[in-house]
């Protein structure tokens, strides 16, 4: 066989192999998670300042990231809008999403402006956005690019909560945070904590293209593929609460005054929860016998239940359970693991 024929045979076989592999590759279908999204950019004086860690002027970095994000968002029929706050302005009124339309709106955001006297009425910005949200039907993702440094006007966390209350199960606020002081970081976290739907966006991490693609996927769409996985993705709705430093004394199970602040917070979370029933589990480390740890953990779980009931929580929704040392979550061979295993967990039943 001549060299030419040999090379041709190799080329044909290689092409066939590639086609076979391609045919076996899992097909992926993108399914939108939301019907609408709004890119909401903080245009305040503090955003016109440099973030030392990110080595850039915050508004410029936010604009760049929003533009890159837009390039990754698939055109799955969303309605989209672009707005700024501090002061509030609509760059793109809600319309059918196309990359060029959003890119054009983002390009109009001024990044060279006088910062002196330019406050951050973040709460008022959220209030003003309500007029835009009200025109949208279905589910909306609100992606905020902000440093959280609200220094004027109404409480932004309260305003965010008000939006969630007005659009229950229809709104999710995601914050891409440029916060570079303690107050801004706290405000950002408080907004993120309002709903567990919120996807955390860190601009430093999102500089990596794979991370940005993942973020876009987490916010905007689901992927359904044919890869034979052991189970379909499962999301549990009710969160597990762990009381992290419930420091019961050795062989003790009574609730002490030092434990009450954490229990109060747990009570607040339980009262807000839509879950019907909760199991209060006591866990121990591996030191001691099985029967001893079983008994101790039952008494500790029962103490927590009694405390919650005494504070008015419906007793029929609480079930105490001692797990002893039989359900460790961490490695009992280390001091750290044993300390982490000594815990009280509240999980939905």
């Amino acid at each position: 066989m001549s060299m030419r024929k040999r090379l041709l045979s190799v080329a044909i076989l290689s092409a066939l192999a590639v086609l076979m592999l391609a045919a076996q590759a899992p097909a992926e279908t993108m399914k939108p998670k939301v019907d609408n999204f709004i890119l909401f950019v903080d245009h305040s004086g503090s955003m016109g300042m440099t973030n030392d860690a990110l080595k850039g002027v915050k508004i410029k970095l936010a604009k760049e990231l929003a533009t890159k994000m837009n390039a990754e968002i698939p055109e799955l029929g969303y309605q989209s809008g672009v707005s700024t706050f501090a002061p509030f302005a609509t760059q793109l009124a809600p319309t059918k999403y196309t990359k060029p339309a959003v890119a054009g709106a983002l390009s109009k955001i001024d990044t060279d402006y006088e910062i002196y006297g330019r406050n951050t009425p973040m709460g008022m910005g959220l209030m003003d956005l309500d007029a835009v949200l009200a025109k949208m039907s279905g589910k909306t993702a609100l992606i905020m690019f902000t440093d959280g440094d609200s220094n004027y006007g109404t409480d932004p966390v309260a305003e965010a909560k008000a939006l969630y209350a007005k659009y229950p199960d229809r709104l999710c606020i995601h914050v891409v945070s440029y916060a570079d002081n303690a107050r801004g970081k706290m405000v950002v976290d408080e907004i993120r904590a309002i709903s567990r739907c919120s996807v955390v966006g860190d601009p430093a991490a999102l500089g990596d293209n794979a991370a940005l693609k993942k973020y876009v996927r987490d916010v905007f769409y689901d992927v359904v593929d044919d890869t034979p996985r052991s189970m379909a993705p499962v999301k549990k709705e009710c969160e597990t609460i762990t009381l992290g430093n419930m420091n019961f004394g050795f062989d003790k199970f009574a609730i002490t005054p030092e434990m009450e602040p954490a229990l109060e917070q747990a009570l607040a979370v339980l009262k807000d929860s839509s879950c019907k029933q909760f199991v209060i589990e006591g866990h121990t480390d591996s030191v001691g016998t099985v029967p001893y740890n079983q008994k101790l953990s039952e008494r500790r779980a029962a103490s927590v239940v009694r405390w919650l009931q005494a504070k008015g929580f419906d007793a029929s929704r609480l079930v105490p359970k001692g797990m002893g040392k039989l359900a460790p979550k961490f490695d009992n061979k280390t001091d750290e693991g044993r300390a982490l295993n000594r815990r009280v967990e509240i999980r939905s039943n």
């Binding site: 305040s44 220094n151 409480d155 993705p233 009381l243 430093n245 750290e336």
Partner: protein, 172 residues
């Protein structure tokens, strides 16, 4: 000099109420370069811990939030390192003709921290760290291939851990 100091203080107190005076750089909290650079907290009485400003303007709470966030990040790293079934103890199983590798992990990049003053005891702060715990899976033709492969989340669980801290005691 005392008069000047008094006038400056008076103007600063007026600043939040007046848009003209509320210049952002003036109100930015001073930040220590690192935790080790922060001065030790003096022992304050309960009155100093009472909120005198709305939460988004509460600098004491903001400072405590930052401390708690640092503690929470380190704590979650410890949890991931010692978790049974974690990345250090990845499970690999053969199912049919394929291999599956799985491990549990808390996503350290997506922690959300909240700090509150205790309602019943003003000497205490309460911190909550909200996180997501995933089971991640990789599928491959060989055990090694799936260990090195791309891991995708196959389950997600929302969790929170609640800690309390006596003022001045730090988080642990």
């Amino acid at each position: 000099m005392h008069r000047t100091a008094f006038l400056l203080t008076f103007l600063l107190l007026l600043a939040p109420a007046s848009p003209v005076l509320a210049v952002e750089p003036f109100l930015t909290l001073p930040e220590a370069a690192s935790p080790s650079a922060r001065p030790e907290l003096p022992a304050l009485n309960a009155g100093h811990l009472q909120a005198t400003a709305p939460m988004h303007m509460d600098s004491v709470l903001a400072r405590e939030h930052e401390r708690f966030a640092q503690f929470a990040t380190a704590q979650v790293q410890r949890m991931n390192a010692t978790m049974l079934g974690g990345r250090n103890s990845m499970q690999v199983h053969k199912v049919g003709r394929l291999y599956r590798a799985t491990y549990k992990a808390i996503d350290e990049d997506t922690l959300v921290c909240q700090v509150r003053r205790s309602d019943s005891n003003p000497n205490y702060f309460v911190g909550s760290v909200l996180y997501k715990e995933f089971v991640l899976e990789s599928v491959g033709q060989t055990a090694e291939a799936c260990r090195r492969g791309t891991f995708e989340p196959v389950s997600e669980k929302s969790s929170r851990i609640i800690y309390s801290s006596k003022h001045g005691g730090g988080w642990n």
